[in-house]
């Protein structure tokens, strides 16, 4: 019951008072979620802060997008998380409601002795060629063209990709398909694809480890993994033909261009967004909850957790180089909750 009280009081005095109330009632509601590894760092941070504020524990298991979808469909968790937004019919079939939670950037990383961050410049066609296996040497004409001043070695390129199914792969291959017709034709976009060349590493950290150890290799990871492992990232040419560095501002620019209003079920891939500052391989990650909740308390807590995180967790997200969702989008998401997420009695759970 304390939850209702907290909720109505939130706008007025959230801080100490609600903490007191929540701590006062011994009935903290624990919820579990599972899915994408890509947003795992920020979800963990949010969960920690949310527990400190409300006493409600959020257990998030970063098991991968596919597993997250399966678990929410099987109703073994209270919410699922996926980097690949589900289609209308997939959502309908399992009565799921989908909304975005945070936006992040995927970056190409290279292991070339002496190369510094952002020194190597790539465009989409070249990156696609490397992953297709048509560009095999670092001093290929295509690479020389985008890097006229760099001294590129005459060594073979070792392509590193994910070996497990992954939302990061989905967004990366979607981008390659958008900028390289050959890629779209021969490989396409999915959480796992038939890689024409290269070696596979398990998880973002597996790819990072392989690139770190293999001279002359190239891979792709979520930006946080590139920074924590001190891997050399590259600049990318974006939709407007400008080379940009993978920074928070570039991810923000890509996110700002997104047209969420006209995306059904928020199904929007942020790859190759227009705008001269936009990072081309930007991706949103999504949350799935059941449209009809069997446990009203838990359903409310899931929404409450994301409501709190979206409104109070922006700084935590930015520290980890994720882009928090804009205010207008948060409003839109909460309108979706009010319309589509219902309790066991059929009444809306939100607000």
């Amino acid at each position: 019951m304390s939850f209702t009280v907290v909720r109505t009081l939130r706008p007025a005095a959230f801080g100490a008072f609600s903490l007191l109330l929540a701590a006062g009632s011994a009935q903290a509601v624990d919820i579990t979620g599972a899915g994408a590894t890509f947003p795992n760092p920020v979800y963990q941070k949010w969960a920690e802060a949310y527990k400190a504020k409300t006493g409600n524990a959020v257990n998030y298991q970063s098991v991968g997008s596919g597993a997250g979808i399966k678990q929410i469909e099987a109703n073994t968790v209270d919410f699922g998380a996926t980097d690949k937004a589900l289609e209308e019919d997939e959502l309908k079939k399992n009565d799921l409601v989908q909304f975005p939670a945070v936006i992040g950037g995927i970056v190409p990383i290279v292991n070339l002795p002496g190369m510094k961050d952002g020194e190597l410049k790539l465009d989409g066609a070249t990156l696609g060629g490397i992953y297709l296996g048509t560009i095999t040497m670092w001093d290929d004409a295509a690479l020389k063209k985008t890097n006229p001043t760099l001294k590129l070695p005459h060594t073979a390129i070792t392509v590193v990709h994910r070996s497990d199914g992954s939302g990061t792969t989905y967004n990366f291959t979607y981008y390659l398909g958008a900028v390289n017709a050959d890629w779209q034709d021969k490989v396409g976009a999915n959480t796992a694809v038939d890689w024409p060349v290269g070696v596979g590493g398990k998880g973002n950290d597996g790819v990072a480890a392989l690139v770190q150890q293999t001279a002359g290799s190239i891979g792709y990871v979520e930006i946080a993994y590139a920074l924590t492992n001190k891997l050399t990232y590259t600049d990318m040419m974006n939709h407007d033909g400008v080379y940009v560095e993978p920074k928070l501002s570039a991810f923000q620019a890509a996110a700002a261009n997104a047209d969420w209003k006209s995306a059904p079920n928020y199904r929007l891939v942020l790859a190759n967004q227009p705008g001269k500052d936009s990072w081309p391989i930007t991706a949103a990650t999504f949350i799935l909850v059941h449209g009809k909740q069997t446990d009203a308390e838990k359903g409310k807590t899931v929404l409450g957790f994301y409501d709190w995180s979206l409104k109070n967790g922006q700084k935590m997200a930015e520290e980890l180089l994720y882009v928090p969702l804009p205010e207008s989008l948060v409003k839109q998401i909460e309108a979706t909750w009010a319309a589509d997420v219902k309790g066991p009695d059929g009444k809306p759970l939100w607000p």
């Binding site: 991968g64 796992a192 070696v199």
Partner: protein, 321 residues
């Protein structure tokens, strides 16, 4: 407790456990033994039913098709099957002579003060979790392979006609060969400890008579010890091969996870268990069914290996009476 009750609790040698006791013990032993068969059948049935959609969709050609494309929902098991067999064969080619050498050294040549430390060290190798082998492989062995060992192999063996193709291409460091090397280290302790034990079963009279007749150590090992213990030795190899075929985590780390069959054994590949480890959590529909079909094939493969080992042993036993 009364004196009588205390006495009743004393174990009495030769006491009759009674009809009921006999029946209970016999019955439960039966149940446990049957349970193994039931479990095996259960695994088999659930694998087949899980794999059925894949076999129905792709037909038997699933086994010899080299494609793994989750995006177009086209699957075939040839590449992982090939990788499984090749990495295990490499493991055996490297592991068998080494383990044979260690076991012979331990039982025939080793000074007593060294026997225990070496035996313990070998047994400790078996206690290392496979994920540790995987991490050690990826972080310690792979860089060595990439910088020194593979370039040397490519430069020497790669130039030999006919078999040169097996040792060519860029030195990735990870690949089937590295996976086989790690596997050889992992199966080594099993082979060594079994072989050491069976070598020790050779009656000392046989050994001593051979030495007494003036045989050299080499001759004793070749004509007395090995023939006497051949069944156990072959059993050790087969147990090791079975383990190598199914090993998962360590291989997944270093095999390269690529679903293409390359000529070179240095190139990245995939094994059945590595592909299961990589994709099971995310798979559904036809992909999940194809993974289960792979699992079924691995089951059949391991079963065949054990079956062949039995046959071989039978024939050997008949030959030597």
């Amino acid at each position: 407790m009364s004196q009588a009750a205390l006495e009743a609790n004393q174990p009495r040698i030769g006491a009759h456990p009674g009809r009921l006791g006999n029946a209970l013990f016999g019955g439960s032993a039966w149940i446990f033994a049957i349970l193994v068969l039931v479990l095996l059948a259960g695994v088999m049935i659930s694998l087949i039913s899980g794999a059925w959609p894949a076999f129905q969709h792709f037909g038997v050609s699933f086994i010899w098709t080299e494609v793994w494309n989750p995006n177009r929902a086209r699957y075939g098991a040839l590449a992982p099957l090939y990788g499984t067999v090749v990495s295990s064969v490499i493991a055996m080619v490297i592991g068998v002579p080494i383990s044979l050498g260690i076991a012979i050294f331990l039982t025939e040549l080793c000074p007593t003060y060294l026997r225990r430390p070496i035996s313990t060290a070998v047994e400790l190798l078996a206690a290392v979790p496979s994920i540790i082998y995987g991490m050690w492989g990826l972080f310690a062995l792979v860089p060595l392979m990439q910088k020194y060992i593979e370039p040397a192999i490519i430069g020497s063996l790669g130039n030999i006609p006919l078999i040169g193709d097996l040792f060519q291409g860029p030195p990735y460091g990870i690949g089937l060969f590295t996976a086989g090397l790690i596997l050889s280290a992992m199966v080594l302790p099993y082979m060594v400890s079994i072989m050491r034990d069976v070598f020790e079963t050779v009656p000392p009279q046989l050994r001593e008579s051979a030495y007494g007749l003036g045989a050299t150590t080499w001759e004793v090992i070749g004509s007395v010890v090995l023939p006497y213990s051949r069944v156990g030795v072959i059993g050790a190899f087969m147990l090791a091969l079975g383990r190598a075929l199914g090993e998962t985590m360590a291989v997944t780390f270093v095999v390269g996870n690529s679903y293409h069959i390359m000529k070179s054994i240095l190139a990245p590949g995939a094994t059945i268990s590595s592909s299961l480890a990589n994709e099971f959590a995310e798979a559904d529909g036809l992909q999940l069914s194809s993974l289960l079909a792979e699992g079924f094939l691995l089951f059949v493969l391991t079963f065949t290996v054990i079956g062949m080992a039995r046959l071989m042993l039978l024939r050997l036993q008949r030959k030597y009476g």
